[in-house]
């Protein structure tokens, strides 16, 4: 029964591995996009300007309330239409195609950013103000205060929340198979179509995703331990 997973001509092992690589690539590309958006959203919702706060909270509230699949279709179809209308106003004959990888990165990044914005906002709010003042008092520049005092502690406070979001991101990559990106999920579907063994292959895909999540949890636990080194436990 396991020969269907062998590598080479006979089995589907190499195709699944290719799909897995695309899944990991997608998640690792969407992560920095989402983190940047998350920091921007947290900064905006903590800003002294009312209009900037409105943008920040508006983005996180709306994006967190929409199904990820809807966001994906909005980005894939909407951005595609928008790009085409911009391009055709310059050159009526030109057509552009938004690749499903790019659409996936943008959509997953937007979703991650909205949730990360809330996690990071909470982390920034739990910083001890006196420490920032102390930094200023010893003559640190604002960037030094940010990188030496704020960021290490924000990282510590936000890590559990961001870890959960990373695992959600990893699982949400499966959605991108719906817009025909050859990720693990879609390669599994291709294999199912030719082998007629849907249960075997979807179970295998589930086990691979499960392994990714368990590995992520182990790495995250290590990171948390490291981030909390030197912190006295109550």
């Amino acid at each position: 029964m396991l020969e269907v997973f062998s590598f080479g001509e006979a089995g589907w092992g190499d195709q699944l591995l290719q799909g897995l690589l695309v899944t990991i690539q997608l998640a690792l590309t969407a992560l920095p996009v989402g983190l940047v958006l998350g920091f921007a959203a947290a900064g905006a919702s903590l800003s002294p300007y009312r209009w900037l706060r409105a943008i920040g909270t508006g983005y996180t509230t709306i994006m967190r309330g929409l199904p990820e699949l809807l966001t994906l279709f909005v980005v894939y179809n909407g951005l595609g239409l928008l790009l085409n209308s911009i391009v055709s106003s310059w050159n009526p004959d030109a057509r552009v195609e938004l690749s499903s990888f790019v659409a996936g990165v943008i959509a997953l990044g937007l979703v991650f950013g909205a949730f990360a914005g809330e996690v990071l906002r909470g982390a920034f709010q739990s910083l001890n103000k006196g420490q920032m003042e102390a930094g200023k008092a010893v003559g640190m520049r604002p960037t030094q205060v940010f990188f030496r005092i704020m960021l290490p502690q924000v990282w510590r406070f936000a890590l559990p929340g961001l870890g959960n979001l990373w695992i959600n991101l990893l699982k949400d990559t499966a959605l991108v198979s719906v817009i025909a990106l050859d990720d693990l999920m879609r390669m599994t579907q291709v294999a199912v179509r030719s082998t007629k063994q849907p249960f075997t292959f979807f179970l295998a895909a589930c086990l691979i995703y499960w392994a990714l999540c368990v590995i992520s949890e182990i790495v995250l636990a290590r990171l948390e331990k490291r981030a909390n080194r030197g912190v006295r436990r109550a």
Partner: protein, 243 residues
């Protein structure tokens, strides 16, 4: 883009989609809500023979994409078709709605079990001892002490889980269920009018906002000693400060 033209032409389709979405997420949440407290009790009090498989189940459900779980049930059942036909369950698995619902129930049960476990473990031990001291049986102390308090603790997290379920129900459109997402995709494929996505977004936001409102009302009903007697003016003021 014809924002209102789309709504004027297709509102019956969108409305029936909303109905299916509510049915999917509502049934899923309720069935999982019946199973979860029983499993949560096993997680808190059960022996290792019951704990180990349950922990594997929960870890699997939380560590794999819901889409993959749904495919495993909907397409995967085809591999056992002769067997399922023999025991008369094939008619159930042939319907995409049933398969999506089964996937949502199994997934949400895992999440709700963990949430309720946290709630049950948060009940102060003295309360349970007090129940024993006045001669309550196990069942009665569950009914009168453990679960009322556990649900009060777990209520906000349970609400979040149900909102996630409403959002996740959009996945059913991938196995050809015509929920709100499915209707939206069908309308877009007919018209190529982007505004249908805007209407879908508005409808999903309305659904979750309505749910949040109902859930908060129920929370007040559940903990009248915390929410009930506070003067409404003060309540409004504290809300504004935290927002």
């Amino acid at each position: 883009m014809d924002v209102f033209g789309v709504l004027a032409q297709f509102w019956p389709d969108l409305l029936s989609g909303v109905g299916i979405t509510i049915k999917l997420a509502g049934l899923g949440a309720i069935i999982a809500g019946v199973l979860a407290p029983l499993l949560a009790l096993v997680r808190v009090n059960g022996g290792p023979a019951a704990q180990v498989p349950l922990r594997f189940y929960i870890s699997f459900m939380r560590g794999t994409p819901l889409l993959a779980q749904m495919f495993l049930i909907y397409y995967g059942s085809g591999q056992f078709r002769p067997f399922l036909q023999d025991i008369g369950l094939w008619n159930f698995f042939r319907e995409p709605f049933n398969c999506a619902l089964l996937a949502f129930v199994m997934n949400s049960t895992a999440y709700q079990t963990e949430i309720l476990r946290g709630g049950i473990m948060g009940v102060p031990h003295g309360e349970i001892e007090a129940g024993k001291a006045v001669g309550m049986s196990y069942i009665m102390s569950l009914r009168r002490i453990v679960f009322p308090h556990a649900y009060r603790i777990a209520w906000p997290a349970l609400g979040n889980e149900i909102i996630l379920l409403v959002k996740a129900s959009a996945l059913a459109s991938v196995v050809t269920v015509f929920d709100l997402m499915g209707q939206t995709r069908a309308i877009f494929q007919k018209t190529f009018d982007f505004s249908v996505y805007i209407w879908a977004a508005v409808l999903y936001l309305c659904l979750t906002a309505a749910f949040v409102w109902i859930w908060r009302r129920l929370e007040h009903r559940l903990s009248p000693h915390i929410h009930g007697k506070r003067p409404s003016l003060l309540g409004a003021m504290t809300k504004r400060e935290t927002a």
